[in-house]
Symmetry: C2
Subunit: 350 residues, 2 copies
C-alpha cells in the first residue's frame, strides 16, 4: 500500500465505491473486498432500459470519459441516458496494487483478466442498479476490450456495443508492444520487483514508458503536422516531458502493470477454446467497430478482421491523424465523428 494523491476525489471525483465482495480471478488468486469506483450521469428510467456502461482504458479514469464523451446534446447524453462509467481494476481508483493492503498489494497483486473486470462490473450493474439490460456498452482501447468481453459473455444483456480503437483478441504485434511497455518499467532497478517506496523511485522507467507511448500512441502524421505544437507544446522535448511524462509519471507503476498485463492478454476466444469466430458469433448486440484510422497498434486492418466475424456489425473507422490517442479528444473532428456514429447506433432498433 502506498500513498498516491493522484488517485483521489480531488483529481478524479466525484466517484462512488461499490464493494462487490471477494473476486475469484481467472488466473487463480482472489481480490478480497474488491471495490469498483464508478461515476454516474443522468437518471435510470422506470423501465430500466436506458443504461449505458463505459469501462475505462489503460491509465484513464471515469474523469476523462466524463470530460470528453459525456454531456447534454452529446451522443452520450445524461438527459436521456443513465450512464455508468466504471473504473477498471488496477486503474488506481478501483481496487489496485497500490491501494491494496499487505500482503496482497504492490508487487504481490494477483493477475487480473479482462473477464474478471467484466464479471465484477456485471455484479455492480445487477446488484447495485438491478439492471437487466444495457442499452450500450462503449469504451476505447482497453475499454473496447471490455466492451467486446461484455458482448460475448453477456450477449442477451448488451443491446448495443461500440468498441473504439481496440480489439476482441489482442494481436501478437500489440502484445509485443505491451511487453516493451512493461519492460520499460520493470527494468528500472528502482522498481524493485514492485516494492518501491514511491513512483519517483521508478522515475526513469516511467519516462521510458512515456516515450514509447509517444512513439506508438500518436502517429507520424501527427508530428509531421506539428500537432504537438498546436496542443501548446513548444518542442518534442517539451511535449515528452510536460505532456507524456507529466501524464504518466504521477501514476503508480504496479497499477499500470496490472492494466498492461490485462491489455496484453485480452482475448474473448477464451470462451470458445480459442475459436475467435465462434466467440464473436455469440454477439447479439448491434455493434459498431470504430478504429482510429492512424492507430499504430490497434490499426483499422486488425479491427476490420474482427468486424467480419461479428453478426450484423458495422465498420465505422474514425478519420484522424491523432492515432490511438485521438481517444484523448484533442481532435474535435474525430470526436464529432464518434458522436455521430454513437448517435446512430443508439437510435438503431434492437
Amino acid at each position: 500500500m502506498i500513498e498516491n494523491s493522484y488517485y483521489s476525489q480531488d483529481v478524479h471525483g466525484p466517484y462512488e465505491l461499490h464493494d462487490i465482495g471477494n473476486l475469484d480471478l481467472e488466473e487463480g488468486g482472489t481480490i478480497r473486498a474488491c471495490n469498483l469506483a464508478y461515476a454516474t450521469f443522468g437518471k435510470l428510467n422506470a423501465a430500466k432500459d436506458n443504461a449505458i456502461l463505459i469501462p475505462t482504458w489503460y491509465s484513464g479514469t471515469s474523469k476523462i470519459m466524463e470530460q470528453v464523451y459525456i454531456g447534454p446534446g452529446r451522443a452520450l447524453d445524461p438527459d436521456k441516458y443513465f450512464i455508468i462509467v466504471v473504473n477498471q481494476i488496477g486503474s488506481g481508483l478501483s481496487t489496485s496494487p497500490h491501494n491494496t493492503s499487505p500482503p496482497a498489494g504492490m508487487g504481490n497483486f494477483p493477475r487480473v483478466r479482462i473477464g474478471d473486470d467484466v464479471r465484477a462490473q456485471h455484479k455492480l450493474v445487477t446488484e447495485k442498479f438491478d439492471l437487466k439490460s444495457l442499452a450500450l456498452v462503449v469504451g476505447g482501447s482497453m475499454g473496447a476490450q471490455q466492451t467486446y468481453e461484455w458482448a460475448v459473455r453477456y450477449p442477451d444483456m448488451v443491446k448495443r456495443a461500440a468498441p473504439i480503437a481496440g480489439t476482441a483478441r489482442n494481436t501478437i504485434h500489440d502484445s509485443l508492444f505491451t511487453e516493451t511497455l512493461v519492460n520499460a518499467i520493470t527494468s528500472d532497478p528502482g522498481f524493485n520487483k514492485g516494492f518501491y517506496a514511491s513512483s519517483a523511485d521508478v522515475r526513469e522507467g516511467l519516462l521510458r514508458h512515456a516515450k514509447m507511448w509517444a512513439v506508438m500512441g500518436w502517429s507520424t502524421e501527427f508530428f509531421q503536422q506539428d500537432r504537438h505544437k498546436a496542443l501548446g507544446f513548444s518542442s518534442m522535448d517539451d511535449f515528452i516531458m510536460n505532456f507524456m511524462n507529466g501524464y504518466f509519471s504521477v501514476m503508480d507503476p504496479n497499477d499500470l502493470l496490472c492494466m498492461a498485463w490485462k491489455w496484453q492478454h485480452g482475448d474473448v476466444s477464451r470462451h470458445t477454446g480459442g475459436d475467435l469466430r465462434a466467440a464473436l458469433g455469440r454477439i447479439k448486440a448491434k455493434t459498431f467497430v470504430m478504429p482510429m484510422s492512424s492507430d499504430m497498434f490497434f490499426p483499422p486492418s486488425d479491427c476490420q478482421a474482427e468486424w467480419r466475424l461479428i453478426p450484423d456489425a458495422e465498420f465505422r473507422p474514425i478519420q484522424t491523424i491523432d492515432g490511438h490517442l485521438a481517444l484523448f479528444g484533442a481532435d474535435p473532428n474525430a470526436i464529432g465523428q464518434l458522436d455521430k456514429h454513437l448517435r446512430e447506433l443508439l437510435a438503431s432498433e434492437v
Copy 2:
C-alpha cells in the same frame, strides 16, 4: 577494444580495409587512422563513369547488400557496374567503438555524424579509386541518409540518387523512436556506461532493443498475415528470440549506439542553416525517393514531404507489408519493384 567474432571476414567477408587517415569529426573529436571496410563487385571502366556507391544501414554490413541487392541480371549488375559497398563508421567492420584501442574506444568513442561518414567515403572513392563521379548512390534507411548527404554535399559528383526507406532530415518522431532504442541498451546496468566485458553483459538491454525493433520494424499487417511464420518461425516468441534477438544479440552495444546517434541526428539542412528546402534544392542527381509503403518510422508521407523539395525527383513508393525491414529482402515482390525502379533510374540520361 573487445573481441567479437561476429565482425569478421568469416561472417561478412570478403571485404577490404582502407585507412583514410585521421578523420576530424563535426561534433569535435578525431578518429585516428579511420578505416573503412568496403567490398567491390564488377570492374571500373576506362571512363570511370560506371561506379555505384552503396552505404550501409543500421546494423547492416556490405554482406547483406551483396546478398539481397547485387547480382548479374539485377539492377545493380556487377557485369555492368563497378559497385562499392562501404560499411559505415560504427558498423563493426569499419572503425567502430568495439575495435578502437583505448582510450578512444568503447564508451569513449566520439560522436559521429552522417556527414563524417560521407566525407570519409569521399576520401575512399577519390583517393583509392580516383573517381570523379558516381553513376548512382543508393542505400536503405541509414544508407538513404548517407545517400541524401552525398547528393547535397557533392552535387556535381552524384549523377543519380536512390534513397530507400529513409529521410534527408530525421523527423522528431523517428528521433524519439531512436532514443527509445538507445535507452533500451543504456538502461541495462550491465552496459556500465559503455565499458562492459562482452555483449553478453548487455543481454537484457539488447533483448529489449530487439523487441522494440520487432514492434516498429515490420508492420501490423506483417504479423496479421503471419509473415513471421512464412519466414519459418513457429510463433512470435520464436521469431523474437531466434530471429530478432538472434540477429542483434551478437552485435556490439557501443557500435549500435554509435550508429543510432548518427541516425537520430541525420540532417542535410545542417549545410544550409536549417533550411531543408535550400539543402535539398542543391541536389543535381536524378533522384528516386523510395519509401516502403508500410514503414512505421520512415513512412511514405515523411519521405513524400522531402521529395517535393528535390528538383526533378520522382516519388516511387514500394508496396509491401514487410514495413521498414522489407529492406531485408524477404518480400521478393518488394525487391522486384526496387530493381525495376533502379533499372529505370540507371537508364535515365543525366
